[in-house]
């Protein structure tokens, strides 16, 4: 019990530091600190519509964070996650463009999601293979592929798939109405998305913590040398973990297309992958905390949208708070001797 308390002490100090710095920044911007924190924490929960929007952010965020837990478990920094979301959206759109009026919609939804997962997995696998066989840093390969994915999306949005008439950043030709996912009345919440996200959380939870495969992946991430010595197929497990991470990201992208934008927009990923990386850096492959942290991030991000209206300050303060928390915890871990290079 005592060790648990001691173990919690450092993260708590880190949180306090992060909150203090945020408070100082709010003061600098001339805002009422308590009011601002109030909006951040509760702004997303005041009306059903806002809760719905928060959940629509939480779902893809959770998917990405869950996927990243796997890549982190294998010891990889998957900075290419935004690109994987994007190509997931591209693949989903590609599949959906084949829709004929009157065809069973469900099949198309399933097909789109599967395409998205496949494409995302492939995109991640490319990076992993480049790292394994040509020793390209997964950081730069990942970043590079992000831009390539963005380029692909832009090309399609402004080119072959553009809106009839004027090509614009607001996306491709929109999906037929029948393909729009059903929403909860009065909100933009499609129940399918959070349900799928929770399903993936459960699946990955089980995979990582309760299967032999997950044990092997975690072993690779902790000590590649020892794992290989003990007969773990390290290369294969790393590739599989990365592919699965990409699949989760691809699913997120596909659901963004079907459920949120109802078209392919260049901004399909919209920073969700990056936020997912922050969540993953915080929980460091410990999947038990992913849901709670993702929920917290989604709540304050959604809540912050109201800051410009209610308090005349920019909503980015939520991102600042998130970044400070992650940074503080990373430093705290290092001082406790846990943070490896």
């Amino acid at each position: 019990m005592k060790t648990q308390f001691v173990a919690l002490r450092t993260p708590i100090i880190a949180m306090v530091v992060a909150l203090t710095i945020t408070a100082v920044l709010l003061l600098l911007a001339g805002a009422d600190v308590f009011a601002a924190f109030g909006v951040l924490l509760t702004g997303a929960l005041t009306t059903p519509s806002r809760i719905a929007d928060m959940l629509m952010l939480l779902a893809p965020l959770l998917l990405c964070a869950v996927g990243l837990t796997m890549s982190f478990a294998a010891g990889q920094y998957n900075l290419g996650i935004e690109g994987q979301i994007t190509v997931g959206g591209v693949a989903a759109m590609w599949f959906l463009r084949g829709y004929q009026d009157g065809a069973p919609v469900i099949l198309y939804w399933i097909g789109a999601v599967l395409c998205g997962m496949l494409m995302g997995a492939l995109w991640a696998l490319l990076v992993a293979l480049l790292k394994r066989y040509m020793r390209v840093s997964e950081i730069f390969a990942g970043l590079g592929f992000n831009f390539v994915a963005l380029g692909l999306a832009l090309y399609l949005v402004f080119g072959p798939w553009k809106r009839p008439g004027v090509a614009s950043m607001s996306g491709t030709e929109p999906l037929a109405d029948a393909l729009w996912l059903p929403t909860v009345t009065g909100t933009r919440l499609t129940l399918v998305t959070p349900i799928l996200a929770i399903m993936m959380l459960a699946i990955v939870w089980r995979l990582i913590r309760h299967t032999h495969w997950g044990l092997q992946v975690r072993a690779c991430g902790l000590s590649a040398l020892a794992s290989v010595r003990m007969g773990v197929p390290a290369t294969r497990r790393t590739l599989e973990a990365m592919a699965l991470c990409g699949a989760c990201a691809g699913m997120a992208g596909a659901l963004q297309v079907i459920g949120v934008y109802h078209a392919l927009v260049p901004n399909v990923a919209s920073g969700i992958g990056l936020m997912g990386l922050l969540v993953a850096l915080l929980v460091r492959a410990d999947i038990r905390w992913v849901a709670a942290v993702a929920l917290f991030f989604a709540v304050i991000t959604s809540g912050s949208i109201q800051l410009p209206l209610t308090l005349s300050i920019d909503s980015s303060i939520s991102g600042v708070l998130q970044g400070l928390i992650v940074l503080a915890i990373i430093v705290a871990r290092a001082r406790r001797g846990e943070e490896a290079a």
């Binding site: 920044l25 911007a29 730069f140 590079g144 380029g151 692909l152 850096l281 300050i313 290092a334």
Partner: protein
């Protein structure tokens, strides 16, 4: 061939590349010493915003530049402390700081959005500016662009021809060897990272007070990642990095020229081409450096070997790795 247009275009490319050149030089100095600064994108935004804010408030461009330099230097100092002294993963810190500084710039910069601030004054060099062709290309710019023009030769000379530069290169390759020679590895790394950060900060404000004046939401986001890619594309050699910057600016200019798609190449393809090239370069370079291939390469005749070595110069061997002092 419209020569006047071409000259104007080239002059524009030289001008527009200036901040990118300054940023890549900052990254280069840091990475040559063995430290990755992934926060560039955020640093440039935060420094650029701060520089603009200070210049706007004090109506002094110089103070704006000083403020930006300070911001860039401070962020780099933090990275040096966390990455070099505490030996935390440079990737993790750099990435988190990139996001953090981006959001900070948006938050603190809010009041300055869409404001008009002072700008770096144009400064044609008297006499030289009237030389045909060269005059227009090189001598009718302003202080920032002139800086970008002298920075690369200066840094290239310093890194390759001075003792200090030799030490810095050694730091990035094998810090253990330098430590054994009595060199204070940690202190040198701090210095190089911070100087690099100052340059990165200057690059940020070079946008907001000169080449993309003003401040808007996420003003120059993405440029930092491009700068990181160009340093790799340039294989950690100043002149090749310079070429990479001009190449990238040229691609962007071409991209906006080809909006009407007379060549059938989608502009987006051109925009992401540098990254594809970067990945290819990395793949080729790293696989050429693999030990298995080394033995095969060593059997090739010397001139061929030299050419491969020239093309495939790898990253500084100790880049990103923590240095553990005994």
């Amino acid at each position: 061939m419209n020569w006047t247009q071409l000259l104007t275009d080239i002059a524009a490319i030289i001008a527009v590349s200036a901040p990118l050149i300054i940023a890549t030089m900052g990254i280069y100095l840091s990475e040559r010493a063995g430290v990755i600064n992934l926060s560039v994108d955020g640093s440039m935004l935060l420094a650029g915003m701060t520089g603009f804010a200070v210049a706007y408030t004090t109506n002094s461009v110089v103070l704006g530049f000083v403020a930006a330099a300070l911001v860039g230097g401070l962020i780099a100092a933090l990275i040096a402390y966390l990455g070099v002294s505490l030996r935390i993963s440079q990737t993790a810190i750099g990435f988190v700081l990139a996001l953090l500084c981006t959001d900070l710039s948006s938050f603190l910069g809010n009041p300055y959005v869409q404001q008009t601030g002072p700008a770096v004054p144009a400064w044609s060099i008297p006499g030289l500016a009237t030389i045909p062709v060269l005059g227009q290309l090189l001598f009718r710019h302003d202080a920032v662009i002139y800086l970008s023009l002298v920075l690369v030769p200066l840094i290239a000379w310093w890194m390759m021809r001075t003792r200090a530069g030799l030490i810095v290169r050694g730091l990035g390759e094998r810090p253990d060897a330098l430590f054994a020679r009595g060199i204070d590895v940690i202190r040198w790394r701090y210095v190089m990272v911070i100087i690099g950060g100052v340059l990165i900060g200057l690059a940020g404000v070079a946008y907001t007070l000169d080449l993309k004046q003003g401040w808007t939401y996420r003003h120059i986001a993405g440029t930092g990642w491009i700068a990181l890619a160009i340093v790799i594309f340039g294989a950690w050699r100043p002149w090749r990095i310079l070429l990479g910057c001009y190449f990238f600016a040229a691609l962007q200019t071409m991209a906006s020229r080809l909006q009407d798609n007379t060549w059938q190449i989608p502009t987006q393809v051109l925009q992401v081409a540098p990254f594809v090239v970067m990945i290819l370069v990395l793949a080729v370079v790293n696989s050429l450096g693999a030990p298995e291939l080394q033995r095969w390469i060593n059997r090739l005749p010397l001139p061929v070997r030299r050419m491969i070595r020239f093309l495939a110069s790898p990253a500084p061997a100790a880049l990103g790795q923590p240095f553990i002092q005994q």
